[in-house]
């Protein structure tokens, strides 16, 4: 296990200066995510243009992995359709959880999260934002849990 593989420069950078951090008001939908294991809390707000997420923000407190993952996710999904987001989520999920999964080329900066799979207890940190975004897109206002 190499720490540098988990805390890559992209992750540290997005943790220090998270992109699309904040809250959209008004927003078309929002959701709360909570990881009870480490106390991470995220709030995601989205604006929709038909089938597309035209804009989104996240706010909250969390570990470097969860903050960087949320920041990278927001950048990656902005402007994308629901189908494209689902596709990305599936790819990210595969990369986070399957030890031998190849890292798809279209993941872009999200590929920086692939080091997380060497640290199984941290997978939930990286996936919390995606579950929260999903909940917002499903218009669910129930808090999401990774447990």
């Amino acid at each position: 296990m190499d720490l540098k593989d988990l805390y890559r420069d992209v992750i540290l950078d997005h943790n220090k200066s998270p992109r699309l951090f904040g809250k959209l008001d008004p927003a078309d939908s929002s959701a709360d995510g909570h990881n009870p294991l480490c106390g991470d809390r995220l709030h995601v707000t989205v604006r929709l243009d038909g089938d597309r997420v035209s804009d989104l923000r996240f706010e909250g407190k969390g570990c470097a992995i969860s903050v960087a993952s949320a920041s990278l996710m927001c950048e990656a999904v902005k402007g994308k359709s629901r189908a494209e987001i689902t596709h990305l989520f599936n790819e990210v999920h595969e990369v986070l959880t399957r030890h031998d999964a190849p890292v798809p080329e279209d993941l872009g900066k999200l590929a920086a999260l692939s080091g997380v799979r060497e640290f199984p207890v941290r997978v939930k940190c990286a996936s919390l934002c995606w579950h929260t975004l999903n909940a917002a897109l499903e218009r669910s206002h129930e808090p999401v849990k990774t447990e």
Partner: protein, 413 residues
């Protein structure tokens, strides 16, 4: 350096060698185990005692006339006597084996409190409780219409006895609090609080899970009505613990689970319940666990609780000084009277990241809310890292922790 004869003979390296697991490696580094407040490790003598029981003596207890059953029963009841001696309970009738602290507290909530509480009655807790001493009371409050009240903590993580005095009133039926806070290490003045509660007719339950491994507990001197603890935090096995209860109260309480061992006679019309303590021990108990718990008490006695306490307090002082010198580190919980537990945060690094980085250095600390979310809320942090010490902790463990914190700083620089 230390004039105390018990302490000067304390050999931490030798104690460390009594615990086989401590010599293993983690992530290619020697293990530095600083998470004993979550669960301590077991000495070879405890492992051997359980092994010996399983290999030579096991049968069901209180049931057979055959040799093995008698041996198992003798060992189980001997363990009860050892637990009684360990906390100076008045009688083995007051010593109930449970699965641990959590089950002990639930037993009191459901068997003592639930039949007695009326709407508007008050249960008084403190702001530093573990979830195990909050949730059972919330459940019984919902069932009965009773109200949960909370004695606040201050910025050092202490509770003020004057606040107990203010909040205990004629509606207070139960006062429940930790002897030692698992998240902060704060030691509470059990005797004083108990006297205040008794003066107003309230019954006192103390969560002793974090106290019994670190200091001598004398229940007859403390005077509380119920005392709960677990073996696995005091060098014994998991899945076994005890509830010590005042005999007059236990005697008036209905059984909380039904089954074998807790009955005298059963017909389909009526069951006669067994005497104390068996009334509260339905089903085949954790016999090997009890044997291991007794062996853990023997082990503690062999070192001397006073010597363990002195050793840990010395480590606490050293660790506090060395951690305070780490730039950006804040210790959460600074009560003058503390067990050897240090919760802390490090600026700019989330405790969860810290936990992962320390782990790659072989250093095991707990990170998270420590099952004490109200404590985290009070200090305005989502989580902390917590280093906790035990009889086998060494000064070199503190140095390894400090070095690993330096490594974390490097990663996040």
């Amino acid at each position: 350096m230390n004039a105390n004869p018990a302490y000067s003979s304390y050999d931490a390296e030798r104690v460390w060698r009594d615990f086989p697991i401590l010599s293993r490696q983690v992530n290619g580094k020697p293990l530095v185990f600083l998470d004993s407040a979550a669960s301590s490790q077991r000495p070879a003598s405890v492992i051997a005692a359980v092994d010996e029981y399983e290999k030579k003596h096991h049968a069901n207890v209180h049931r057979g006339v055959h040799q093995l059953s008698q041996e198992a029963t003798n060992m189980f009841e001997h363990a009860r006597e050892r637990v009684r001696e360990f906390v100076n309970a008045a009688s083995t009738r007051e010593v109930i084996f449970t699965r641990g602290t959590t089950e002990s507290i639930n037993l009191v909530a459901q068997s003592y409190a639930r039949p007695r509480l009326q709407r508007g009655d008050e249960i008084l807790l403190t702001g530093l409780e573990h979830h195990a001493n909050i949730v059972p009371w919330q459940l019984v409050a919902e069932q009965t219409g009773a109200v949960v009240k909370v004695v606040p903590i201050n910025h050092r993580g202490e509770v003020d006895v004057a606040d107990f005095s203010r909040l205990i009133n004629e509606r207070t039926r139960i006062v429940a609090f930790a002897h030692v806070s698992n998240a902060l290490g704060t030691v509470l003045p059990v005797r004083e609080i108990t006297q205040l509660a008794h003066a107003r007719g309230a019954v006192v339950l103390v969560d002793g899970a974090q106290a019994v491994p670190h200091q001598r507990v004398d229940l007859q001197a403390l005077g509380c009505d119920f005392y709960a603890f677990s073996a696995h935090k005091m060098y014994g096995p998991t899945g076994i613990g005890a509830l010590i209860g005042r005999e007059s109260l236990l005697g008036s309480m209905p059984p909380w689970q039904g089954g074998g061992d807790m009955i005298l006679t059963v017909s389909f019309e009526k069951t006669t319940f067994n005497v104390l303590p068996f009334k509260f021990e339905a089903g085949t108990p954790n016999i090997s666990g009890a044997v291991g718990m007794a062996a853990a008490i023997d082990y503690i006695d062999s070192l001397g609780m006073h010597a363990i306490h002195e050793h840990e307090q010395r480590l606490l002082k050293i660790a506090t000084r060395k951690l305070e010198a780490v730039p950006g580190l804040t210790i959460i919980g600074t009560a003058p009277d503390k067990a050897a537990v240090i919760s802390f945060t490090l600026d700019g690094i989330h405790p969860h990241d810290l936990g992962t980085i320390l782990d790659t250095e072989g250093v095991a600390v707990r990170t998270g809310h420590h099952c004490a979310m109200p404590v985290m809320d009070f200090f305005g942090v989502p989580a902390t890292a917590r280093a906790s010490f035990a009889c086998y902790s060494r000064e070199s463990d503190i140095d390894a922790l400090v070095a690993a914190l330096g490594k974390a700083r490097e990663v996040f620089s």
